[in-house]
């Protein structure tokens, strides 16, 4: 069982390109459809929890599913499984890349690729923007995060903490106002 867990998540890690979100359909087809380790509702819960806790989604969901099936040891097997392909492949590429990075042809290509990376990041922020609730609060927080970082005012961690505190305060105020309405 431990080996099946490890091997399943190893395959999930090996065959997904493009990060945690690309993994979700693979995780679903193995853990829900093929092995029936968890049901549809549990799967949805796991994705919701993986998205609302710190850390990459791939690792969060592997840990959670592993834990659900075989406790702490299961979570370690699943997580190591999902990470191992990356570790092996990247070490091979890194060793190779170090030799070729001085090559002028490679440098020409990377001058273009750096623009591609900027576009990937900008597009990721656009995609995440679409999923947000649109209101004055979220627009102000987006602008705040953008400006604070662009002008190097605060470290990323503090910027995120400020946003989170504003969010919690708003939630508490909203609840109080709701209770007043009822009474």
């Amino acid at each position: 069982m431990y080996f099946t867990l490890f091997w399943t998540f190893f395959k999930i890690g090996l065959f997904t390109f493009g990060g945690g979100y690309a993994m979700i359909p693979f995780i679903h087809s193995y853990t829900v459809d093929k092995y029936k380790w968890i049901n549809e509702k549990e799967f949805m819960d796991i994705i919701a929890i993986s998205e609302s806790t710190p850390g990459p989604i791939a690792i969060n969901s592997a840990t959670y599913i592993g834990h659900k099936i075989k406790g702490i040891r299961g979570s370690i097997f699943a997580t190591v499984g999902v990470m191992l392909p990356s570790i092996i492949i990247i070490i091979l590429i890194a060793a190779f890349f170090m030799q070729y990075k001085e090559n002028p042809h490679v440098e020409f290509a990377f001058k273009g690729i750096r623009i591609g990376v900027a576009i990937l990041i900008i597009n990721a922020s656009i995609r995440m923007f679409r999923k947000l609730d649109k209101n004055i609060l979220s627009y102000s927080l987006i602008t705040l995060g953008f400006l604070l970082l662009l002008f190097d005012v605060l470290s990323v961690i503090y910027v995120i903490i400020i946003g989170a505190l504003v969010g919690i305060l708003t939630q508490i105020l909203k609840k109080q106002r709701g209770e007043e309405d009822v009474s």
Binding site: P56, I93, G112, G116
Partner: protein
């Protein structure tokens, strides 16, 4: 060496704690940590991000392995990667044991409602910063600073960005390949 390995672990542990919602959310903090510590130049970091995006597996694991390997070889790769995964492991196991309705808790909802928009702004800011640092290059010749405007990068940006607007689901690997090919043609041949 042991100090460096420990620092890699702690740095990536910190990055793991403050990542909400997928690998891209991790880029702003990685950029800040890696540049402040002088581990990489900005251009090198962007190259690493490109490779981490175009190889199999979770971006978070890829980029941590890459930066760790670059600092302290295979041991560095392991310490960085274990560091980035450790907060997830601990937090998820605790949540799986204690709270079943974690994502319905009102404080968790409030926390995420506030943190997510800020993270969107922060990620957008890093994307713009990476773009600007490719478009404007600072050249220093004996105390005279000259800012060079690189029109070829603008051309690549306009072409590739339009492509991604036309075809929204263009795969990251294709974006990297197309922009690499354009870079090779514009900088290498012309």
């Amino acid at each position: 060496m042991l100090v460096n390995l420990f620092e890699l672990f702690i740095t990536f542990f910190k990055i793991g704690i403050f990542t909400f919602g997928g690998g891209y959310a991790m880029i702003p903090l990685i950029t800040e940590e890696v540049l402040n510590k002088g581990w990489l130049e900005k251009d090198q970091l962007i190259d690493f991000i490109a490779i981490a995006e175009s190889t199999p597996g979770a971006f978070a694991v890829n980029i941590s392995t890459f930066i760790g390997y670059n600092q302290e070889s295979i041991l560095g790769a392991l310490f960085a990667t274990i560091g980035v995964a450790m907060p997830s492991l601990i937090i998820i196991i605790v949540i799986a044991k204690l709270f079943h309705k974690f994502s319905e808790n009102k404080y968790v909802i409030g926390f995420l409602n506030g943190a997510k928009p800020v993270i969107v702004g922060v990620i957008f800011s890093v994307g713009i910063d990476f773009l600007l640092s490719s478009v404007f290059k600072i050249k220093e010749i004996t105390h005279i600073r000259e800012i060079i405007f690189d029109w070829k990068t603008i051309l690549i940006f306009v072409i590739v960005f339009s492509l991604t607007r036309i075809k929204e689901r263009l795969h990251p690997i294709l974006i990297v390949l197309i922009s690499g090919l354009l870079g090779y043609i514009l900088f290498g041949i012309f």
